[in-house]
Subunit: 404 residues, 2 copies
């Protein structure tokens, strides 16, 4: 496999590996990220009331190890969710075995993630048997990272990764991230698996702030189908191997690092939307002129999750009326007769009524891979931006037969 | 056209007609219901913040005429929504012309409804020109009623109607209803066009109470796609032509009438779901054992609107994990490890984990036209029942090309 990134982009002191342990019918399905030294860790987990066993175990481990972690082990093909006490035990055993093989570490230094079908017991023997090999074969190479990005895929059609760097006190700091997720994608940190590793030096507290700051306009601003998963995890590991001075909260170093972290998260989030199940285009929904940012966000999310809006977009249909109707049921108070709607840069609705436009040309523009929609309520200063994708027959085909 | 109902089911004193006035590419697109004498009227309108011109005009007319109406004129093919001041004027003119042709009545005695595409000016001349003919050809026949039920259709694949009767003081009272709606169907009275006429005698106040009582478990308990329309209207006309004594609130007569009204509304609501765009089955989602009825309702609606649940149902996939995941993001507090889930009568999840079942047999049962799903939280006495349909590739095909 040709490595998709240059080896110079890899943060120092991290190794990767992946194996096929038989959870998926074919292909890599178990991946490992290891830091040579204990790394500061910050994680955000799903907000779903139903949380998978690995989410439970990872939360416990983070607090036990005071957010200093050695690595992350991830399987695809089975979510280990709704699997009862046995599921918890499988996730804990996976961490235990991984920590042991890595060098008799404490199991709480390992994060565990799973993704795949819900409610089916995880065949834990396959994982446990594969751990010695996956630990032994870890390397700090672009090829190993590329294999890791494939091992975490489920209905994804392509691996998703992004890199960035910045300078802290004259030293180069590298960030490298990857993500999986194509269905059950909905904002508020319940969206997918994503891992970002960096050789910056930072305390877990600073890291947590940076992660929270970075997700607002990135991972928390995307939606594929409004369904929030039970397993979603975003993990950030920082091992300080760059040798740069440690960053502190809210100084110039922090802001430089945050900028780089945001660029990685933004790229990964948009890759997830672009690879939304069955998606053919990314749709950027911007609401302006709302009474407040919160109102704008609520309206943008309602529009982004409307099946009628999303199917119209699949057909390149300039159906601004459905956008207006979705705005109307969003719960936000506004005057319909002041609204302006632009699709793909074309003004289609002014003062709440049709503004004449060339339907043919509009249709052509709406078939692009990136379609911006701007709804201006002309009532205040609130704005929000949400990314989603169109809703195609392929989404249905993928999801009507996923399990059986 | 063979009348779908027996003439004996027609309430006394109502006439119907329909014409093709050229709003749709082909077929009937303008319908009229007339009561021989002013009838008590109760109406429920969309809760969408964006309301179509005919909704605005009908509201005004109801209050001007103190809820005593002569008739309802309905067009399909164009929603007359987001059409500005001109749209209001078109709806008002339609009522004016209809009232005039019916016998120089005051225009406020006419309700106006429109359904179809949003944001395109309604070609009002076609309607105005057709009104003398549609008024002249009205008859109290089952055939005319059948034509009316077709004239209000848009993406509906079949007309929807239901009849009931009851005895008030020894006299027979008849109820007859029809409805349209297949997409943009979402509860809270923003669902569709539906008309129920009856020859019961009742004041507008009593009628309004009966209508509100009847919609809770019927029209407000269905959802096709979570999109709330801008035009939806449920109108109930009662002209007293049966000769039965007037019903009063909450006596035995009222309850008998309410029972009949609920049966008509229930039948129409389920017909709408069964004809949901692209739908192959009706799915009944019941949540039991919730902390409160309100919690149960919230969870049932979240499950009913989950694209992942609905696509799994399209494929007959016993994917109870998606139901549990949707329950988990509904905002209702519950203990996942107490949950029981049954699909098509088969227990699939017990104490939040898989309960072993025959996958083949389950798949076969899930391909039925009516699939019950029961989620029991085992935490309280709250219950709710919501009806929806599966989400197929045809839904996408219908909606990706509706307008252009």
């Amino acid at each position: 496999m040709k490595p998709p990134i240059d080896a110079s982009l890899l943060p120092r002191g991290f190794k990767f590996s992946a194996v096929a342990c038989g959870l998926k019918k074919s292909g890599l399905d178990l991946g490992l990220i290891v830091s040579d030294v204990p790394a500061s860790a910050a994680c955000l987990f799903t907000t779903n009331r139903v949380q998978a066993a690995p989410v439970f175990v990872s939360r416990v481990h983070l607090s036990q190890s005071r957010h200093k972690m050695r690595g992350i082990i991830v399987n695809s093909g089975n979510a280990n969710c709704a699997t009862g006490a046995e599921g918890i035990s499988v996730a804990a055993t996976t961490a235990l075995k991984t920590a042991w093989e890595l060098g008799r570490h404490h199991p709480s230094q390992i994060l565990v993630c799973s993704t795949g079908v819900i409610g089916v017991p995880l065949p834990w023997k396959k994982i446990i048997k594969a751990i010695p090999h996956i630990v032994r074969t870890r390397t700090a190479t672009a090829t190993a990272f590329a294999q890791f990005t494939r091992a975490i895929m489920t209905t994804d059609t392509r691996p998703k990764f992004a890199a960035a760097n910045c300078r802290i006190g004259g030293k180069k700091v590298r960030l490298l991230g990857c993500a999986k997720g194509a269905g059950m994608i909905h904002p508020n940190m319940a969206t997918m698996l994503a891992f970002v590793v960096t050789d910056v030096a930072a305390s877990p507290n600073v890291l947590r702030r940076a992660l929270r700051d970075a997700v607002c306009g990135t991972f928390n601003a995307i939606t594929v189908d409004g369904d929030t998963s039970t397993n979603d995890t975003l993990a950030l590991l920082a091992n300080g191997a760059s040798g740069a001075r440690a960053i502190r909260w809210d100084n110039a170093d922090y802001r430089k690092f945050l900028g780089a972290l945001e660029s990685v998260c933004h790229s990964l989030a948009l890759q997830i939307v672009a690879d939304g199940e069955g998606a053919r285009r990314v749709v950027e929904i911007e609401v302006r002129g709302a009474p407040s940012d919160r109102d704008a966000d609520q309206m943008a999310r309602t529009i982004a999750n409307s099946p009628l809006v999303k199917t119209a977009l699949a057909g390149g249909d300039p159906n601004w009326g459905r956008i207006l109707a979705a705005a109307g049921r969003s719960g936000v108070r506004f005057k319909p007769d002041r609204v302006e709607i632009r699709m793909a840069g074309i003004l289609m609705c002014r003062n709440g009524s049709e503004h004449s436009f060339g339907e043919r040309a509009a249709h052509r523009k709406l078939l692009a891979t990136h379609v911006p929609i701007v709804v201006n309520l002309r009532a205040g200063k609130g704005t929000a931006r949400i990314w989603t994708c169109d809703f195609t027959g392929d989404y249905v085909r993928i999801n009507a037969s996923y399990r059986s």
